[in-house]
Symmetry: C2
Subunit: 278 residues, 2 copies
């Protein structure tokens, strides 16, 4: 039985491949699953995983997405979509390709994916200044349900997300007063994390600004860049998200993700629009 | 007299413009100035400013680059280059375009530029959790010269960069032992900062890993995303850079920039390769 995440992010070649031809993109077919969504919108990290899967398909020399930067142009709807992949530079260490999500002839999401071979979970770091934060473990956190105040979160059927009780008060109308959130997650059906699923992990927590209270609605992503730093060890992935500034209609959110061995495995950086409430 | 930065980042249409035609990119000409370089390589932030200038040219409704994500494919050389700009989505609030730097028919640097109208320096923030760091002011910092151990930094003829004495020891063989660096900068000829020059500012300090000692050479950027958060007030721009992890041949660097009024005006996030020494 394939795992949910792999089925939901699967891509297949839609015709004979002009692999790494500069003239024409390689076109993949994907099927955007409606349940990988939050408040009616397909999750941005889920979409990123589909693009990265297509961008690394058929290139065993560069199996891991190391840097994925994406700009969200228009919201896709569930159902059939194409991923168009175009090579930009394919070298010994790194391969860079553009991957765009297209539906009904419209480009909805564009990305640049740089792939290579990431260090494994047991490879020592030359420098590491990012220890996993202290706090309650997953069993002492609050499991996020598929209902939140005013919105439905079907994504939580696929992701087992545990939120630090100190950050979970927003769901009960008692926001923490801080624009930060900490939690643990794993795929609900037991699939272990890998670089592709980390693209989902960094975007699966509630927005950090929910900790500031009810004046914030969902926050549509403008730009999201993820740097994957290592292949994660099996088990829970711990994620922290923090917003530094909300001004002029924009907000940022930085996420960091650690694997169960405490290794920093992904960092992300997002610019989003301040969402409307209601 | 135009300012150095504006001359060095100028772009001009190379032929009659098919502005915002989806079919064909608008092509600009640029002249990459050899002196905007570090250790023989044109500065990545300088190149980003050229791309963002081209991507926002001729669109007064979206004057400011808000998000610029770039992937560095191959190093450009000084001299004539083209910037090819292709619209992706042009709306009321935001306009997103691709901008690519091309030399001799080869694409060297690709970017996605999302432009809009940024808040001014006096616009209040809804939330701000990023105060400018304490420490010595620019007059009590060390002015960076155009010579560093083993490398020449002509960029410092254009940028007046003052490095916190606590972080400047690497230049004298006394690294701080921390992968961080703090400094102030302004353009040497008195040009005031704006969103375009902030793209340079976040990439103009020495790599944070220089604080770890001589095992690190220059660090070639793989991916650099800058989120510009506000139009800066006149005066010095304060910048901090920090590296969290060096492993598997990759390192990250986060930069934050504040204007002279203490407003967080830009954030950046970089993935780079660990450079060879010598």
């Amino acid at each position: 039985m394939p795992y949910d995440f792999d089925t939901a992010t699967a891509v297949s070649l839609s015709r004979l491949p002009p692999i790494d031809s500069a003239a024409e993109p390689t076109r993949y077919e994907a099927d955007l699953q409606p349940s990988w969504s939050i408040a009616g919108a397909l999750n941005g990290g889920y979409l990123l995983a589909i693009l990265a899967r297509a961008a690394t398909a058929g290139d065993p020399a560069h199996p891991d997405p190391a840097a994925v930067s994406a700009t969200y142009l228009r919201p896709p709807r569930p159902g059939a979509a194409n991923v168009e992949v175009q090579p930009l530079a394919v070298g010994r260490t790194l391969a860079t390709r553009r991957a765009a999500l297209v539906q009904d002839g419209r480009t909805l999401l564009v990305s640049t994916v740089t792939a290579g071979r990431l260090p494994g979970p047991d490879q020592a770091a030359t420098w590491d200044d990012a220890p996993a934060p202290d706090g309650p473990g997953p069993d002492d956190c609050v499991r996020a349900g598929r209902s939140m105040p005013g919105m439905s979160v079907p994504l939580m059927d696929h992701v087992d997300l545990r939120v630090d009780p100190a950050d979970a008060g927003f769901a009960l109308g008692r926001p923490s007063g801080r624009a930060s959130v900490r939690g643990f997650l794993r795929l609900a059906d037991g699939r272990e994390p890998d670089p592709l699923s980390l693209l989902l992990a960094v975007d699966a927590l509630p927005p950090a600004v929910f900790g500031l209270g009810g004046q914030f609605g969902w926050t549509p992503t403008v730009e999201l860049t993820v740097h994957v730093r290592a292949r994660p060890a099996p088990g829970w992935v711990q994620v922290t998200c923090r917003t530094r500034r909300v001004a002029g209609g924009f907000l940022d959110e930085q996420a960091m993700a650690w694997d169960s061995a405490g290794t920093l495995v992904a960092q992300s950086h997002q610019l989003a629009l301040v969402g409307k409430v209601g």
